[in-house]
Amino acid sequence: MIAIPVEHCLLLSVMLFCLGLLGVLVRRNIIFVLMSMEIMLNAIGLAFVSGGARWGQADGQVMFLLVITLAAAEVAIGLALVLQLYQRYRTLDIETISKMKG
């Protein structure tokens, strides 16, 4: 098996991570924000797996599993709150939650 160089994987994961972060930064729709966070978590997963592959360990995959769990939990709670948000304001725009400041 021809190993994919670890740098390539890491570069990809960095790009993915940045994409996700950029999404959180620019999207106004809360759903898209949550999705962008998923992308970030997946980038992390990729980095762990490629790291595991580089060192030939299972640790990377184990961490990936944990990351997936985290992603699921985060989204579960996130969506519950999105529901609350929508019920109250009838919008998914995150600008609505900027009352507290100063």
Binding site: V24, L25, V26, K101
Partner: protein
């Protein structure tokens, strides 16, 4: 009796305490007030008699009570020192003081602050006695400041008027300028001579310092500063005319007979130091001569009877300084004494006049009072003659001693003498201007005689006597002061000196009695009027001080009322609030902005990590 020396200042002090602490009736207050000083005077008499009964070498008595302050090598004992000089001063203070107290009983009769008046007076006598008896400069300073305080209290005695309060504070502050200099002088003396006991100090100064070297010069100059303030000499003379705001007995006691002579006493007391500083000696003489000359002119144009007497006092004090400056110590003290008699007499007589004309003090609103107020008139006449130094009066003897001493001085003696003689002419002029205006001419005031009772008249009579015979006293001060060599006085000098007062009186007769239009005509011209105004203002000293000292101070004080230093802290606080607001702006409440901040932080950290 000498061992009862401590009782002399204590008696008036006890009188003061009684008057302050107990709610006495007017009668009781008078008894306590006058009685305590009377007792002190009696005791003084006994003590003085005993002291002069001793052989002339042993006429020194020191009494140490307790250690007042002690630190390192500095020790100030609370101690009194009695020698002929102090004895003479004591006698003047208690004697004249008693007479004035007595007079005040009548003068202040209707005043609601009767007891307060006597309390202050008693305190003054006590302080003045401490001043002259102090064995060291610190005790002297205690009395020195004490009399200043009493002077302040009594000038501002009628406190309803702001002007009185202002005059009182002015007196205190201006003399305090001198006091501060004197304090510095004491520090300097102690630093170099290790003691403040006057006798020891003088001995050490003679031992350690060369005549004319810089240290004694500076020290003497600083002490002179104190003396100038207290004795109202140029440039610190401006407070005395204003001090006339106080009741007239005060002007007589404090601002003529006793307190203002404290400066003379101080210099006489420390004459050995001044002898080491000939430059300062000359300065003293020059200041005295200038002062007597300048204030003579000022007295000439005043209209307020008490202010005329005040400037006259300054002028006479100038004579005493002149005497001190030329080394005629005894003459200075002699003149101090005669001046105490006749000037107290003049003030008391003026007081009696003022009382009878309903507290009018403008001499041009009086006139022809000779017939209505014979006692006052004759008192004024005798006092005036003594003041202008007409032969056979006490003033004649003392002033002539001074002028002769000045004439004989090798250091610009002629100039000093000339100024003195011109001053004598002026004295005659302004004194008789006053007498002619007030007591001669037409009557134009209502007078009520009734208020002048026996207690007022008796002191006047006694002082009249003293003003005449005072010149015949021989002060036993030979062992206190170095003997001054007899000067050969030329006949011309002697003649001019004798004639000068009469010239003044004659001019006064011409201008203010015979031909009153003449004076008005002089004043009518612009130069004349300007000169009159210049003299009237006391040669512009007040104006000058107002411009260069008081106004800048007031300006600073007014601008800086809110404390410029505080604005620095207010600025800092304001800056903090500003930064708070700016920082607060970053807290927008928008989530994406927050994410942006995190992202920025990450970029910075990672960037720093990678590129470091």
């Amino acid at each position: 009796m000498l061992e009862f020396l401590w009782l002399v200042p204590l008696l008036p002090l006890l009188g003061f305490l009684l008057l302050v602490l107990l709610p006495l009736t007017k009668r009781a207050a008078a008894i306590v007030g006058v009685g305590s000083v009377g007792a002190a005077a009696l005791l003084t008499l006994l003590i003085v008699v005993e002291l002069f009964g001793l052989s002339s070498d042993a006429q020194v008595f020191r009494q140490i009570y307790w250690t007042w302050m002690q630190a390192e090598n500095f020790t100030a004992q609370f101690a009194f020192y009695l020698d002929p000089l102090a004895a003479v001063m004591m006698a003047i203070i208690t004697g004249v003081g008693f007479l004035i107290h007595l007079y005040s009983v009548g003068y202040m009769d209707e005043d609601p602050g009767f007891a307060r008046f006597f309390a202050y007076m008693n305190l003054f006598i006590a302080a003045m006695l401490v001043l002259v008896l102090g064995d060291n400069l610190v005790v002297l300073y205690l009395g020195w400041e004490g009399v200043g305080l009493c002077s302040y209290l009594l000038i501002g005695f009628w406190y309803d008027s702001h002007a009185n309060g202002y005059a009182a504070r002015k007196a205190f502050v201006v003399t305090r300028v001198g006091d501060a200099l004197m304090a510095l002088g004491m520090f300097l003396l102690f630093l170099h001579l290790d003691t403040l006991d006057i006798q020891q100090l003088m001995a050490n100064a003679n031992d350690q310092w060369q005549t004319g070297s810089s240290l004694p010069t500076i020290a003497a100059a600083l002490l002179l500063g104190g003396a100038l303030g207290k004795s109202a000499q140029i440039p610190l003379q401006t407070w005395l005319p204003d001090a006339m705001a106080g009741p007239t007995p005060i002007s007589a006691l404090i601002h003529a007979a006793t307190m203002v002579t404290a400066g003379v006493y101080l210099i006489a007391r420390t004459h050995e130091l001044f002898l080491l500083a000939p430059d300062i000696m000359f300065l003293v003489a020059l200041i005295g001569a200038t002062t007597l000359f300048i204030s003579g002119f000022t007295a000439l144009v005043q209209t307020d009877i008490k202010r005329i007497l005040a400037f006259s006092t300054i002028s006479q004090l100038g004579y005493m300084f002149l005497a001190l400056g030329v080394g005629a110590w005894s003459a200075a003290i002699f003149h101090l004494m005669t001046h105490a008699f006749f000037k107290a007499l003049l003030f008391l007589a003026a007081g009696a006049v003022i009382l009878c004309v309903h507290h009018e003090q403008d001499i041009f609103k009086m006139g022809g009072l000779r017939k209505r107020l014979p006692v006052s008139f004759w008192s004024f006449m005798i006092g005036g003659l003594a003041l202008v130094a007409v032969p056979l009066t006490s003033g004649y003897y003392s002033k002539h001693e001074i002028l002769f001493a000045a004439a004989g001085n090798e250091n610009s003696g002629q100039l000093l003498w000339l100024l003195g003689v011109l001053g004598a002419v002026m004295t005659g002029l302004y004194t008789f201007r006053l007498i002619f205006t007030v007591f001669f001419g037409e009557e134009n005031t209502r007078v009520h005689e009734s208020t002048v009772g026996l207690v007022v008249k008796l002191p006047l009579v006694v002082l009249c006597l003293l003003s005449i015979v005072g010149g015949w006293f021989v002060l036993p001060l030979d062992h206190v002061f170095p003997a001054s060599e007899e000067q050969a006085i030329s006949g011309i000098t002697s003649l001019v000196t004798d004639v000068a007062p009469f010239v003044g009186i004659f001019i006064a007769y011409l201008v203010f009695h015979q031909n009153k239009a003449l004076a008005d005509a002089v004043v009518a011209h612009t130069p004349g009027r300007l000169l009159q105004r210049f003299w009237f203002s006391g040669w512009g000293f007040d104006w000058l001080y107002q411009k260069i000292l008081v106004n800048p101070f007031m300006l600073f004080v007014r601008i800086n009322k809110n404390d410029i230093v505080d604005s620095f802290y207010r600025l800092a606080a304001w800056l903090m609030r500003l930064i708070h607001r700016l920082f607060g702006l970053t807290q927008t409440g928008r989530m994406q902005w927050y994410v942006g901040s995190i992202a920025l932080g990450v970029v910075l950290i990672v960037g720093a990590g990678i590129f470091s």
